[in-house]
Every structure is written in C-alpha cells, then in structure tokens.
C-alpha cells in the first residue's frame, strides 16, 4: 500500500489551493456561451437584411433601426415604458428607502413578519401579483390607465429597493447618527443630512436596476395595460408571433445595450462605495 498517491504531499503545505481540472473550465465556458450567445447573435442580425432573418447577414445597414424610430406605435410604446419606469422607480425608491430605514433602525416587535410580507412579491410568481392587481384595478375603475401601471410596477419594485437599500444601511456606522442626535439634530435632519448622503451608492444602484426591471417588465403590464397604454415589452410580446420583419432584433439589441449600460453604471456606483470606505479608514 505504498503507492505514491498515499504519500503525504508535503509540497502542498502553504501553497494556495489551486486544484483545478481543465474539464470544469471547459464546462463553465460552454455554459457562458449558452448564456451569452443567444443575445449576442441578435446583434449582427439587427444590422442585417430588412425583410427576413439572414445569418450571417449579407449586408450592413441601419434599416431596422430606421424602421423602429419611424414607426409611431413602437415609439409610443417605448415612451410609455420609459414614463412608467421613471415614475415607478421614483416612487418605489422613496417608499422603499423609508421602509428600509424604518425596519433597520427600529425595534418593532413584528419586524420579521413585516419583512416577510414586504419582500414576498420578490419571489411570488409574477402572474399571481398581476392577476391580483388586475382584478383590484378593475374594481376601483383604474384598469388600463397609466396610473394603474405605475402603481403596479411600484408594488413590484419596492421589495427590491428595500433589499438593496437595507444592505447599504447595514454597512453604515450607527454611531454617526447617534453623534448627530447628541449634537441636537432632529430625526428628519439626521435622515436627510447624515443617512441619505452615505447611502448614495446603494440608492444609485437600486434606482438603476429598478428602472431596468420596470422597463423590461412584461407580466404585470400584460394584465393591466390597455390599448392606449401599451408598454414596450407588451408590444414585443404580442408581436413576436405576428411580426415578420426582424425589427425585434433591433429592439432586442437596444434593450441588451441598455442592460449593459445599467450594469456598468451600477458597477461604477459600487466602486464609488469601495473608494468611500477606503478613504474613511
């Protein structure tokens, strides 16, 4: 039983662990290809032939983008999505930040339960929320209105804002607030002058991702939007099967670019926080 494998491998002591098998790398890279390629393949198609999908494209032009920007229904849907996303992000950011601060800094008895209720829409199937909002808005006579869309999206975004901002609040040094309070600052003053400025990186990333989530949201909008208030995802969804022109390739490319920009923006905000922490210590 003195095979070399049984011997103590003393050379491994002190070395960082670096047992890697090439197989893991190959599998991981295949998975990355599976994850990324579908969205990437759409990009060359969006610059390609106008009337049908040809791959690889035989020509390069901006026709599909031109078509998108000159079709009023597409522009109207995009404007509507932007409007709903901006409004619901603004409301959700305000309510969510207040709720997060309230929960983090209070010793409420039902805190845990409150948190579960507040966060549940994050994991409950979107269609359940959508149906609930749909029948609710139908009863109060708001169905199909932009107000209903904004309210629905706010409900959908709030839990996400609460989670993101709570994480930011947990990193704050509570003694700074205590110090401000000792020096005579009121609760409102502490919140606006001490807490909010420190939370800026979390607020930026919560805001950016909320905007993206609302802009891309399909299920709730599909249930509660009307003919006059169609959002971009709803219009995309209904035209995937009917549209013969590959205009959706151009729209998809633009949406992918929007996601990239927002991810980079949030990454920038995260680095900002790191720098701030480094500068503090």
């Amino acid at each position: 039983m003195n095979s070399p494998a049984r011997k103590l491998n003393l050379g491994a002591i002190g070395k960082p662990v670096h047992w890697r098998f090439p197989l893991t790398g190959i599998m991981a890279w295949s998975a990355f290809a599976f994850l990324l390629l579908p969205s990437l393949i759409i990009i060359p198609i969006s610059f390609g032939n106008k009337n049908q999908i040809v791959f690889p494209p035989t020509a390069f032009h901006w026709d599909l983008y031109y078509l998108f920007f000159t079709t009023s229904t597409w522009i109207a849907a995009t404007t509507q999505s932007a409007k709903v996303a901006l409004l619901s992000t603004a409301i959700a950011l305000t309510l969510g930040t207040l709720a997060a601060y309230g929960i983090e800094r209070s010793r409420l008895r039902g805190k845990q339960l409150l948190l579960v209720v507040l966060l549940s829409p994050l994991l409950i199937p979107g269609v359940v929320t959508a149906l609930g909002l749909y029948s609710y808005f139908a009863v109060i006579g708001l169905s199909g209105s932009t107000t209903a869309l904004v309210m629905g999206h706010t409900v959908f975004l709030c839990p996400f804002v609460i989670v993101t901002v709570s994480a930011g609040i947990k990193e704050l040094d509570g003694s700074i607030e205590t110090a401000a309070s000792v020096m005579g600052a009121g609760r409102f003053k502490i919140f606006t002058a001490v807490v909010l400025p420190q939370l800026r990186p979390s607020l930026v990333s919560a805001g950016l991702f909320s905007f993206l989530m609302s802009f891309d949201e399909l299920v709730i909008s599909w249930f509660i939007s009307g003919a006059q208030t169609t959002t971009l995802p709803v219009k995309m969804y209904s035209s995937v099967q009917t549209e013969t022109s590959p205009i959706l390739a151009a729209i998809s490319t633009m949406l992918t670019i929007l996601s990239v920009i927002i991810c980079l923006g949030a990454e920038g905000a995260r680095n900002l926080r790191k720098k701030a922490v480094a500068a503090d210590s």
Partner: protein
Amino acid sequence: MSLGFIVPLGFIFFRSFTIDGVFTLEGFRSLLTSPLFVRVFWTTLEISLIASIVALAVGYPVALHISRQSERVRSLYLIMVLLPFWTSILVKSYAFTVILGDAGLINTALRALRLPQFEMIFNRFGVLAASTNFLVPFAVFPILANLLAQDPNLGKAAEVMGAGPLRIFWRITFPLSGSGVLAGFILTFVLSLGLFATPALLGGRHDMMMANLIDFYTRDTLNWNAASAIAVILLFTSAVLLLLLNRVRGTEKFA
C-alpha cells in the same frame, strides 16, 4: 405600503372562493376535475423539474470555476453571469425563436449541410432550452455562495494527505455544497413554476403552463373564479417551497 400588495392578493382569495359574491368551493372543485387544468398542472411540474435540474447541472461547473478564481478575475466572471441575468426575458426568448425556429439559424445551417433538420420550437424542447437559459444564473448564485463559504483548509488538508483533485471534489467539496444545491433547486423550481413568456413564445399547445392558463381564463373565457383559484394553488405551492428554502438557509448561513 404593504397594503398595495396585500389588497390585490386578498382579491384573488376572495374571487377564488366566490362566484358573484357567494361563497363556494366550486372553483376549486371544477378545476380539479377539469382535464385541461390537470394536464397543465402536470406539464408545469414536469417542465419546472427538468429545467431546474438541467440549470443546476449547467450552473454547478460555472459556480465551481468562478469560486476558484482570484478575487479580481472572479468579478469579471461574475459579470458574465450577471449580464444574462439582467437581460430581458423577452430578448432571450426572441433570441431562441431566431436560433431554434424552422427557418432559424440551426436548421438553416443543417439544411446547407444537407443534414436532417429538427423541430425545436413550439414544443417541449424549445421551452426547456429557453427556460434553462433563464434559470442558470439563479442556480449559480446560491451554489457559488456556498462554495466560497467552504473552508479552503479542508481541501488543503486533503491535498497534503495525498488526495487528488477529483477525490477532493467528490469527497469534500461536492458533499459540502449540498445545501447550496438544494437552495438553488428550490429557487429555480419556484421561478419556473411562474414562467409566462417562455412557454407562450416557444411552446406548443401542449406546453401551456399555469401562468398561461391563468391568462387564458382571465382574457379569453373571463372566468375570474377559475383564474383566481389557479393563482391560489400556484401561490400556495410557491409559498410552501419558499418556507423550505428558508429552512435550508437557516441551517447553513450564506448569501
């Protein structure tokens, strides 16, 4: 503020137990005896089960690979998981219709090579491919969190004692990652129960899932009672699974 969410949910419960304001269990009774619902229910479970298992199998090597990188490289790899995570599900579903369709990229290539072509869209395969693609990032995160929380000294100890990389993986890393895999499974399974756009765009008539059936009852037959009853069943199933997830998270502290 939580009222904004609770009130609509209350409406669903109210509607699922009432027809024209009268209390009744008729909605649930007729659902459970409806062949359409029973079929859709099993389809949903089947698709969710297969898609989440495949997503875990695809996501595990990704998490393993990322966990073994230095911190700098790790954040670069993470971007490659986060980017698809933040890509609109409509974009991804559309991409799959373009790739898998009858006149899609794969079939066109096969035709050019004079090979037999496959029907990969409007059937179970299309739904599973696109759902798995959607779920993989959700499988990666809990597994990665678990792998990063593992004590690296265990691996070192095993290496010192002469264990090869494969042995270290099978005897130490993999068994220890069990709770991460379980958390990933519950998460992806719950998410796939609620899939809406993917089965609608890539599936055929026999791949309808519960969310699509709710949509069908709400829009096409205006049967709000049935739609709400399905939503209650869906909600209940998800809630039970999420409580389980909470259990798993409680025993192992990560994420």
